[in-house]
Symmetry: C2
Subunit: 418 residues, 2 copies
């Protein structure tokens, strides 16, 4: 008889408990043995639930019970999740988690702790909700060098951008609707400022390139600066084919021995599989030297998709309890940077919307030949354009030449190679 | 030191050998030990290749070498692949294969043979080339009931349909181009008549629903009957949103205790993730009760994508040699049907293009209210329309009522719920 513990009974925790009991029979078939939830950790009172007798308030009960072989950490945030997970691994228990903050900040360390103790640390649910991505990516690595990962990793911002694009809403209105529907928090900064996307692309980059990428060292730009006007200019932009879209992209590109990682709003080509990803859906593009482009698409959040990924991880950890000498899910630690890394290695075009007495001349003066975009009802002192490809450093320098001649109203990267 | 054997040195076999040696170092890191290709089986002479000393012509050498723990069967077709794989499994060696015919015809039996011998039988490369689908689908099953799988599973037919749709080519011209580019065989019937798609959806259905689905029992319709006219009417059809597309779809839907499986050309909604899948790309939509819709997209064929999937399977089989009592990849055998199963359980709309003295009246007479489609340069005696939803049986009966009043020029299913 396998015994597991579930830490936290919030949205994902209660969903996990529910999905577990719903699928108990098929899980037991898969395991070739019985399995039960022995404890659920939560400080609140849930004694009237059907499995109310399993609730405990004291983490020590779980930690010190040798019967518990796998625990699911679904509390979220760094504290006390980090202390709990570390202690569980050191006590010889496998841990699965949906906690992207924990994995993005402490992944290398916790993977090493798990390996040192011959147990598992799985986190499929931390990126892409119910989309299988961590394990397929890990398995792809045996026969592929991953060149690049680019994804729409945050459902809330994708919903907002979709509403701006499809229904002509402004950012504030679309954000309000996202909050009304429960997609965005009262304080939406984690989503709209790109931090959530940043954590997820850091996890994917760490796994794909084998070295921990800390969020603090990643250039991160959210979508607060994107206006209805920018979105409408994007509709009149055509990359190599089809109608483009503005998306918040987390991108990690191999550049020699380094990974260049960044988060920013970008114009994406209509022919890209990422352009048609709307509403709260996520999609992750993985480019390997042997597989070519592979895209994983689905609901990136939500109670049941995320719970489903957690339950799958629990089953995997029960089926394959010890990692032994063999290297399973793993990456090396790396120096932590205090400042966002220079993203100069990643060249792309840039979109700019500017205002000035002669905006076209200012644009050409600073950036040379650019492609001006047409816009309905465009004011005479405004110009929107897309530059040729350049590094972030080069762009910064040229932007300097624009100052004094024009005011910058909007900007985004142009990723026409996705 | 692990020793493996590769059976077959054709496109996938040589690709696998190449990808293996290119990634030998990272594979060994993953395994925590050295690994080498001891034998390559091929009747042709490849002695001048860098690894030419590994070639053997006698299968018995591999079968009887206790050092070989994993073999990759990349010969294709049922014979002698089936005999070889069966013998290898019975000799206690794990087998991985890209052979969809073998898995579709003998999957249940070979999975049982593998289990009886405590070894592995993996076939990630048999569906979707380099797209990870078999293993993610299998892992999803722990926490999901799969309702449905629908996919664009054959790159050749998707290339042909894309050329017809995008460049206005006729079927013959597009097929010729596919042959010129090496996407289609000289005898293209396996692809264009839907047999390849049928094998793949059978494999996915068997895995998702737990019972073997034999290709012979599956209603299979290819794309030979699709004309430029049908494609052009589809452009003027709008399902619930966006511009639709004609795709060859393999579909498996749970219906009570049974799976309804079929292969046919269908109109797909513009808002579906499948509509934008063009050229030789494949995509597989999986609908689970917890995950919701998940789509896997990528190159469904080709030397390196397929080889990459084979090498991943080799590494998995080496890492997890025995399945023990636990149920890994597995499905039950089921009675083999000699006739295509009635697909009456699957209701959908139907597209028809007909010719007659009063085609509109004939359409309304047989099908009641239908939605007529407009077409440029449509002859006066032609009508194209989409019916309401009905079962295959109902459609057949109504089609009978049309006979004598109009000639049927084109038909397809209408899958506006994908």
């Amino acid at each position: 008889m396998f015994k597991i513990a579930i830490l936290g009974h919030g949205v994902v925790g209660s969903g996990t408990t529910e999905v577990f009991f719903k699928n108990k029979e098929s899980i037991e078939k898969k395991l070739g043995g019985e399995v039960d939830v022995k404890y659920i950790l939560d400080i609140r009172d849930f004694s009237d639930l059907p499995y109310g007798d399993r609730f405990v308030k004291d983490f020590g009960v779980i930690l010190n019970d040798p019967e518990v072989s796998v625990a699911a950490e679904l509390i979220g945030g760094l504290n006390p999740a980090y202390d709990f997970v570390k202690a569980l691994l050191n006590a010889g228990k496998s841990v699965v988690t949906s906690n992207k903050e924990l994995v993005a900040q402490k992944g290398a360390e916790l993977l090493k702790t798990a390996r040192d103790n011959g147990v598992r640390f799985f986190f499929e649910a931390s990126v892409g909700g119910g989309i299988p991505i961590i394990r397929p990516l890990h398995q792809c690595l045996a026969a592929n060098e991953i060149h690049e990962i680019a994804g729409i990793l945050n459902g809330t911002t994708n919903f907002i951008l979709t509403k701006m694009f499809r229904d002509g809403m402004g950012f504030g209105e679309a954000l309000g609707l996202a909050q009304e529907r429960g997609y965005a928090e009262h304080d939406p900064s984690d989503d709209v400022d790109g931090h959530d996307t940043c954590r997820k692309i850091c996890i994917l980059a760490s796994l794909a390139f084998g070295k921990h990428v800390y969020p603090d060292g990643v250039y991160t730009e959210g979508i607060r600066g994107i206006t209805r006007e920018d979105v409408s200019y994007c509709e009149n932009w055509s990359g190599s084919s089809g109608k483009g879209a503005v998306k918040l992209i987390g991108r990690a590109v191999r550049s020699g021995e380094k990974a260049v990682v960044m988060v920013c709003p970008a114009f994406v080509n209509g022919s890209s599989q990422l352009a048609g990803v709307d509403d709260v859906f996520n999609a992750i593009l993985v480019r390997g030297d042997a597989t070519g482009d592979v895209v994983f698409y689905g609901k990136g959040a939500g109670k049941y998709p995320t719970a489903s990924a957690v339950v799958n991880d629990i089953v995997s950890a029960l089926k394959n309890p010890g990692s032994g000498k063999r290297r399973s899910l793993h990456w090396e630690d790396a120096p932590k940077q205090s400042e966002p890394e220079d993203y100069g290695g990643l060249t792309s075009g840039f979109y700019l919307r500017i205002k000035g007495s002669n905006p076209e001349a200012a644009a050409n003066g600073a950036f040379g030949d650019v492609a001006f975009l047409s816009g309905n009802g465009r004011p005479g002192d405004e110009a929107a354009f897309v530059t040729g490809k350049m590094s972030g450093g080069e762009f910064g320098a040229k932007l300097g030449a624009l100052r004094g001649k024009a005011e910058i109203l909007g900007r985004a990267r142009v990723f026409d190679d996705l």
